[in-house]
């Protein structure tokens, strides 16, 4: 394994780790809310 490949692998891993931490603690993608009973949108409850 040459030095360039080692560096690519190491820094890709670092980028992935940073992306994970940012997603986990700083920027969380918003989940779509599910339709619940009583929301008046024809959920079938009444």
């Amino acid at each position: 394994m040459n030095t360039v490949l080692q560096n690519i692998l190491a820094f890709t891993t670092l980028a992935l780790a940073l992306a994970f931490i940012v997603r986990k603690f700083i920027w969380k993608p918003k989940k779509k809310s599910t339709k619940a009973c009583g929301s008046g949108d024809g959920c079938g409850c009444h």
Partner: protein, 699 residues
């Protein structure tokens, strides 16, 4: 392609619903949350006869369909919402043979929703001890359903239950009671206004608003010729409904169930008399706690030592086998030591959850809650606050969520604010490694000093939570009333399968939940410790060689000096030195400072961080503990981890709010940033002052 059906497992708490779920699904299950809320959602797959697969949902325990908490609301929302992807093809209501009458109330309500409903009568093995006999055919006829009499303990009746579920189309959907009988005028008008709707479903939608305030009744109110009643009137109608249901149940049980009290052998009263005694109850609880902490230490030392040396060898092996370079260094000095820092604690965490699961399964935990209620009342907390405080020993996040069943806002807020003081599983790795370093291995009365220290830390956490609650109760000016009701389940021998599943699930969630964060942080730390700006870092080799040219150092010593110099001038070294003046009075060096800062993401990151920092640049195969023990205080000389600095660190972690996720959950539960910010500032300041005093007094 095989057919899949949805099966909802429903039942009162303590009916063995989860045991039925485990018996049907085995390890083929997963735990998550309901969307948008944080009530636990357990689901699994069960193979039924004739190639049918059942997707089984273990719904939260509920006493009725009149929801009064978020947990219970999940059940009713699923049963009322036909469009939900989990809407059941069949509902399986689990009951306890000893509490059949009370458990059947929920059964009749679900049946009246005209959902195919099976009745499971669990704990059949206890019938003999309680003098109970059942006429199943008679009950099936009266309740208009199919019944599975099972014992999850003895693994009896499970195949019959599977058979009945697979024949779900044959299960009657006839209701138990005629809803209009509750109040003919009111329900007559309701029927006229909504001729195409199921009456009982409408009734639940209307009354759910009364009970819980979640469902919007505005869609019903404006309909011509119909007006809902006042809340008081609706409550009276609910009471009438309950009476009608019990009349129906009594009618079925009159002949379907006989109880011969002369045959009943009840050990429960005798046990309760001792275990909830105002003196012996506490003594027994203290002895049980001591035994648990002693066992955690004694039993897990062998696997822990093995894991520690295995990771050290793996790191060394990786370094020797792979070609030199950045990625090899990342693996050997970042990822492997970081992972080792979490895997090493699996034995202790598994043992802790094993004991907690046994206490819960046996029914003893409810007695502890009852016992502790006497104490909690004096500190302005509800008896229900005990559940979050005890479950806080696992993790503060679900514990804070568990406060949702505390009706009084003041008590709930106080419980939320003090729960993070309880010693959570994330503190355990920090405590264990520091205790191993600074507390001697001797014993007193057969109990090791280390186990006693660990127990003391748990008591300090619990004691601080209680005292803080007392202070908050005096400070917070919120008026509210509350009451405490708890069901005491029967004593049972814990089921191996249930205990094993709990231990596996909890340990898995600890390892994978925290493990991912630790791994990511280890990688980032490796980068920060392996690279640095400026001449001091990049030219470290020449600087050290010039500095020590006259001293004739061995090659190994020289390499260590270079590694140490590089680390000190790396990014992490610069950051660590910047915060060092703040933490030096506590007895910590810059490396511990970095570990404290990084463990703000999650406390258990502390050990992984130190393992990563200490291993960067080190050529020796060493365990985490030995590396920490070998660290030298840069100012005073001698070991860095002394009794004084160790106790200071233990106390800092006992009190500091080192958990971002907990702060996020407090924000969500209180709907304000005010409380988590106050919590963070007060807890951290308190931790700093206590750690400072401890170090300055003990050094």
């Amino acid at each position: 392609m095989s057919k899949q059906i949805n099966v909802a497992l429903i039942g009162n708490p303590n009916t063995g619903k989860t045991s039925v779920f485990n018996a049907l699904t085995g390890l083929n299950q997963k735990v998550g949350n309901y969307p948008g809320i944080t009530v636990e959602k357990k689901q699994g797959i069960c193979k039924l006869p004739r190639g049918v697969k059942a997707h089984i949902i273990d719904l939260p325990g509920t006493y009725s369909l009149n929801a009064s908490s978020l947990d219970e609301n999940v059940v009713i929302e699923l049963l009322l919402n036909k469009n939900d992807k989990d809407f059941p093809d069949i509902a399986v209501v689990v009951t306890d043979v000893e509490n059949l009458k009370r458990n059947l109330l929920l059964f009749t309500q679900i049946k009246d929703l005209e959902i195919p409903t099976l009745l499971v009568i669990n704990m059949a093995d206890r019938m003999r001890y309680k003098g109970i006999s059942l006429d199943i055919n008679y009950l099936e006829d009266k309740l208009n359903t199919k019944i599975a009499l099972i014992s999850t303990r003895k693994n009896e009746g499970i195949d019959k239950l599977k058979q009945l579920i697979s024949n779900y189309k044959e299960v009657s959907v006839a209701p138990c009671i005629n809803t209009t009988q509750i109040d003919s005028v009111y329900f007559g008008n309701l029927k006229k206004a909504f001729p195409n709707q199921l009456l009982y479903k409408l009734w639940l939608v209307i009354t759910q608003d009364v009970n819980f305030g979640k469902t919007d009744r505005n869609k019903i109110d404006p309909v011509a010729n119909f007006k809902t009643k006042s809340k008081g009137d609706l409550k009276r109608l609910q009471q009438k409904e309950t009476i009608k249901r019990y009349q129906f149940i009594n009618n079925a049980l009159d002949k379907g169930q006989t109880i011969d009290l002369s045959q009943a052998k009840d050990l429960r009263i005798k046990l309760d008399r001792v275990l909830t005694h105002k003196v012996w109850g506490y003594v027994i609880f203290a002895v049980i706690l001591l035994t648990i902490f002693q066992a955690i230490y004694d039993w897990s030392s062998v696997p822990m030592d093995f894991i520690d040396s295995a990771f050290a060898s793996l790191s060394e092996w990786t370094k020797n086998q792979l070609p030199n370079g950045a990625f090899t260094s990342l693996l050997a000095e970042g990822i492997i030591p970081g992972l080792g820092g979490i895997v090493i604690f699996i034995p202790q965490i598994a043992f802790l959850f094993l004991f907690i699961a046994i206490l819960e399964e046996s029914g003893y935990m409810s007695r502890v809650v009852f016992l502790m209620d006497r104490i909690m009342r004096r500190f302005g907390l509800s008896g229900k606050s005990v559940v979050p405080l005890i479950s806080g020993t696992a993790c503060a996040i679900p514990a804070i969520m568990a406060t949702r069943n505390i009706e009084s806002w003041k008590e709930r807020l106080i419980t939320i604010l003090v729960t993070p003081f309880t010693t959570c599983a994330a503190r355990l790795p920090v405590y264990l490694i520091i205790i191993a370093l600074v507390i001697p291995e001797g014993r007193i009365l057969g109990l090791s000093y280390q186990a006693l220290t660990l127990m003391l830390l748990y008591l300090i956490g619990f004691g601080t939570a209680i005292v803080s609650a007392y202070i908050l109760n005096k400070i917070l000016k919120i008026k509210s009333k509350t009451f405490f009701v708890i069901e005491m389940p029967n004593y049972k021998l814990p089921l191996f399968k249930n205990v094993a599943i709990t231990v596996i699930e909890k340990t898995k969630s600890f390892v994978f939940g925290a493990g991912k964060i630790i791994l990511a942080i280890s990688i980032i730390l490796w980068f920060l410790a392996s690279y640095g700006p400026g001449k001091q870092f990049n030219d470290a080799e020449n600087i050290i060689k010039t500095e020590f040219a006259s001293k004739n150092l061995s090659s190994e010593n020289l390499q260590q000096k270079i590694a140490s110099h590089k680390l000190e001038h790396s990014f992490i070294g610069i950051a660590g030195h910047a915060i060092e003046p703040t933490i030096r009075p506590l007895g910590y060096d810059w490396k511990i400072g970095i570990a404290i800062v990084s463990s703000f993401a999650a406390r258990e990151v502390f050990v992984g961080t130190l393992a990563t920092i200490y291993s960067v640049g080190s050529d020796q195969e060493e365990t985490i503990k030995n590396r920490m023990a070998g660290e030298v205080n840069p100012i005073l000389g001698g070991p860095l981890f002394t009794f004084a600095s160790g106790i200071s660190l233990l106390l800092f972690y006992a009190f500091a709010m080192q958990c971002m996720s907990t702060l996020a959950i407090v924000k969500r539960e209180t709907n304000s940033w005010k409380w988590p910010i106050l919590q963070l500032v007060i807890m951290t300041a308190f931790a700093y002052i206590v750690a400072l005093i401890a170090f300055q007094v003990l050094k």
